[in-house]
Structure formats: structure tokens, C-alpha cells
Symmetry: C2
Subunit: 162 residues, 2 copies
């Protein structure tokens, strides 16, 4: 956990549409070995496993699994990219797109824009924030765009230790 | 890769709305160690890392990261759950929901329903299939519901070796 996470904890009450939060620590490097290791475990398809075979596929070269990019995005959010007091808890995801492949040695960071904030009627201690998270490579090109609905604690929540 | 994947390769031309495909091999077991290992790498939050700490959180016990469930789902699809000729290539995901947590030792399988089939106008060798994939636990309860848009090859594709 980064210092940022410890010092800036956001509650639903702190969020407003239009706010943008960015990961400020080290980018996640998607090196060739980690791309293949993820693929061997979860997405064993030729275009994620081997440079040579990948050259003749849809991706025309080794590319990270989209789920690897999604997982790396989660790590960046959890490590301070979006410092929510109760953690990053997805109720659902509305959309995920991968506009371009993640290639070996791409360095990823995230930017999240708050789109909507909805206190819960039935559970006064929490609410939902609708957030668009864009994952960018070292050239500031989006490699993943995701809109998610996150469960966010309110300041009165008994579950949160301030 | 399973025998099923090698023997039944589906092209866009084979798909019709209403068809259901199921993973028929071994379920994926989400044991406690693999839940924590994924979390350490990609989603280091208390409710995914440690049984004791998890008891006092939103999840009231250890639960797999939703991205771990998504990755395990991908593995089941790739290993024969949806034997598409060109592999499982997501253009985008329209929705992902996690209706209940995945708990240690849950055994997961997948069912995919073809919702829509759209040949591409600009690229006659491929098209898009809109598919709803439900990930179920050993009690046949859905733990993830995902609707995705998959790039699927047509029979005339030069990229596919029959």
C-alpha cells in the first residue's frame, strides 16, 4: 500500500462527477515473461504465449491477454490510483474495451473519472460511484477503457476505521 | 488444449442465437492458495488476502477477486467451453456482474449462450458474436455473468487452417 492510499481516503461524500484521479506511482511494466506467464495460467492462446506463433495471428505479434490488462489495471487502482476508503469493490462493470493491444514492455498507468455518484436508499452507509477508468501505455494511448460501478462507503459507515 | 477444442471448431457461420455451449472438462477449483496468490499479484485487498482479516469486511470472509473469476472464466472458454476456430478474441465486454462471491474451493464451470451474430461489412473474413457467458459454482449458482462481443472467423477466412 502506498503512502497516498494511507493519507487520502475517499468516501462517497468526497466524490463528484468530473473529478479525475490518476495513479502516481510506478507504472506496471507488462514484460514479455509476465504476458506469457499470465497466458499460461489463464488465457493459453497462441497470440499471448509465443512471439513466433503470434506473428501469424489476428494480433500480428505477442499481445497481453485483455484480462491481464484488466488485472494490472486493478493493481494500479488498489495501489493508490483510486484511493477509496473501503477499497475498490466492483458491483458490476458496464463496459470494457481494448482499443489497442498491450505489447511487451508497455508501461501502464490509469486515470479514473467520476461519472456519477448515487447514495444507496436501502443502505445509508454506502452508495455507488460510476467511474470510467482508462488504462494508458507509455505513449499515453488508451489500451483499456472500462466503466464500472463501485461500492463506496459513506462517512458514517461503521465498517470504516478513520 | 482439450480434444474437444481440436475436433469441434466453430466459425461465425456455425453460430445461431439461442445456441448454448458448456465447458465439459474439469471445473476450475478456486482454492484458498490460488485466491490469495492472484490477489497478491493483482488485487491486494484484505478481503482477497487473508481469511481472518476478510471476516470483518464487506465480503464477510475470503472471496476471490472478480478479476480472478474473470480470468478463470477465460481459461474455461479457451479450453473448450466455447470452441471458436480463431480462438476467443474479445472485441469488447458489454457487462460483467458478480452476483455472489467466489469462496475457497468453489469449483467453476461456464455456459455460453449465443445472443446475436453479425457478419462484418468491411471485413468479410470475420464477424462479431454477442455472447452471454455465465460462470457457475458447484451448486449451479451464477458467480459471474458477462456479455461479450467476440471476433469470430468466417469459413472463408485465409487466417484459419482447417
Amino acid at each position: 500500500m502506498t503512502t497516498q492510499t494511507l493519507t487520502r481516503k475517499l468516501y462517497l461524500d468526497d466524490l463528484q462527477p468530473g473529478q479525475i484521479y490518476r495513479s502516481e506511482g510506478e507504472p506496471v511494466t507488462m514484460d514479455s515473461e509476465s504476458i506469457k506467464a499470465f497466458a499460461r495460467q489463464f488465457d493459453p492462446q497462441p497470440f499471448h504465449l509465443d512471439e513466433g506463433t503470434a506473428a501469424n495471428t489476428f494480433f500480428k505479434g505477442l499481445a497481453a491477454s485483455g484480462w491481464h490488462t484488466a488485472a494490472a489495471t486493478m493493481r494500479l487502482l488498489v495501489e493508490g490510483g483510486l484511493p477509496l476508503a473501503g477499497g475498490i469493490i466492483g458491483a458490476s462493470v458496464e463496459e470494457v474495451r481494448w482499443p489497442r493491444p498491450v505489447r511487451p514492455d508497455d508501461r501502464l498507468r490509469v486515470e479514473s473519472e467520476v461519472l456519477e455518484v448515487r447514495p444507496s436508499r436501502s443502505r445509508p452507509e454506502q452508495g455507488i460511484a460510476r467511474v470510467r477508468t482508462t488504462t494508458l501505455n507509455q505513449n499515453d494511448e488508451p489500451v483499456q477503457i472500462m466503466t464500472s460501478h463501485l461500492v463506496v462507503q459513506r462517512k458514517l459507515s461503521p465498517l470504516i476505521q478513520k
